[in-house]
Symmetry: D2
Subunit: 161 residues, 4 copies
């Protein structure tokens, strides 16, 4: 059994017809798992729905608490890419002996051109095969939490080295 | 570097407007990897484009040859689901010491409701983390080649047990 | 108020995951009208769901009966393209003083690349502005029933002239 | 022959992966006409790409000039919904004896859930059948320019009456 914790991020942004802007309404995860015809038992839990630029230490604490206290030892977290690395570090400090994979999207799932479904398939797979630890999985690759950064110019995650 | 071998299957079926039926035109893999913004180096090679129900032993031999002779040791194969298990067995007999992941789709990628992108993200991830061997990856799960069958009634892959 | 009569055709073909072929399950019309945020009052009625190549004179009779007996004088009919012209002729003979627009699609709505939504928007508009008569509306154009044929080689409707 | 003038609006908003916001890159009109397999001869011309809230009198003047000076007497204009009524009034004052249909979308075309393709099919059809004048066509309905307003609360165009 895999626990999927929803925290928001580009993944779940929706278009507000009246205001003409992006916002959060509901998570698309259940629909995405249905589309992927996912056969792994998955428990989906929405912890929050927010832009990761607005996350506080308290928010990260809540995510860490839910990761530690959930009965599953395999955890996928959907998260905005801007501060995914910071949350990964907070999880590494607070949650021992679980395999945690953070993932996200460059383009909202509601857009036709989203990378979300590819990334979700990837995260669901990495979490079942990687040893315990905290990882970031984006665009077919995975990184250990302490050795990755988001390149602000290209938008791509890369090794710190 | 991952080698992706294309063999056809539901994945790549396209709609023929004039005849009103499904057929093969070209593989959608490059477009899917672009959509997933895949950052792993991938070499895509079309071995054939066919319905797996029509595959002969000779066809499976060609797939095994391309798997064995490609310089990469990580190989993803897109394949029709109907005889994916038979091809996996042929590969296990013919290709030692490589990690080979076969994947496919229940619904063509060209349909809005396809599981293809999810499965591709999954296969690209499993192939990087599983030990050498031949596997089938569908819908978030993976199976060793000798312990899986397709349930014809539900359309789902399951353990033989 | 516009009456929309569903008869099947490419429009409503769906993908059968187990058999790997196209079939009819349900009409997509209500979903399409919702997507188009259609504000014209519309009554949707499924008369049949069939490939127009299999339509009999009796089937055309039922479509004509429903067109004549419905309280609305504006009628849109979704229909397979292969015998759309024959049904249009049957309607012209049997239903006086209504504006009837037949439309269809070259690619099923369930495919990402469908022309269905464009054609539906077009038919809904033509039916409100054309004088009474029977018309075929496809791909932005409209034809009077007695002056149109489907070109089997190109798949396109054209004037007989 | 129909002239399609592009001015921007929700229709053509695209997602900026790096900034996580909506912006204009290019018009989607040619792709939409291809998807709709539009058979009416159409000349597409990008006059500007802007949010209609930012349009000045000078911008409306340019749109009116292009409408008056184009050789075609049938004109479709894609436009943001917020000030579509103002531009329609400017056109009514400046362009005599042409049929002009303004249309737009509540959701960007790049989103899966867009009403854009439906509205485009509708506008292309209304412009061929309505008498000369300036109209707004949205969501299956059409309004004369002097008798329509956008309801800011519901986002819907409605008669003034």
């Amino acid at each position: 059994m895999i626990r999927v914790l929803i925290t928001g991020g580009t993944f779940d942004k929706e278009y507000d017809e009246l205001q003409g802007r992006l916002y959060f309404k509901d998570t698309h995860l259940p629909e995405m798992l249905r589309l992927g015809r996912c056969r792994v038992p998955v428990a989906v839990e929405t912890v929050m729905l927010m832009d990761s630029l607005h996350m506080t230490d308290g928010d990260r604490q809540r995510i860490a608490d839910r990761s530690r206290n959930s009965p599953e030892s395999l955890i996928v977290i959907t998260h905005g890419t801007d501060t995914m690395v910071e949350t990964a570090a907070a999880l590494a400090a607070a949650v021992p002996v679980k395999t945690i994979v953070l993932t996200g999207a460059m383009v909202p799932y509601a857009f036709g051109s989203s990378d979300g479904l590819f990334n979700l398939g990837s995260a669901i797979s990495f979490v079942q095969t990687l040893p315990p630890g905290v990882y970031i999985a984006m665009n077919g690759t995975h990184f250990e939490w302490h050795n990755v950064q988001k390149n602000r110019e290209t938008g791509v995650f890369e090794l710190i080295r």
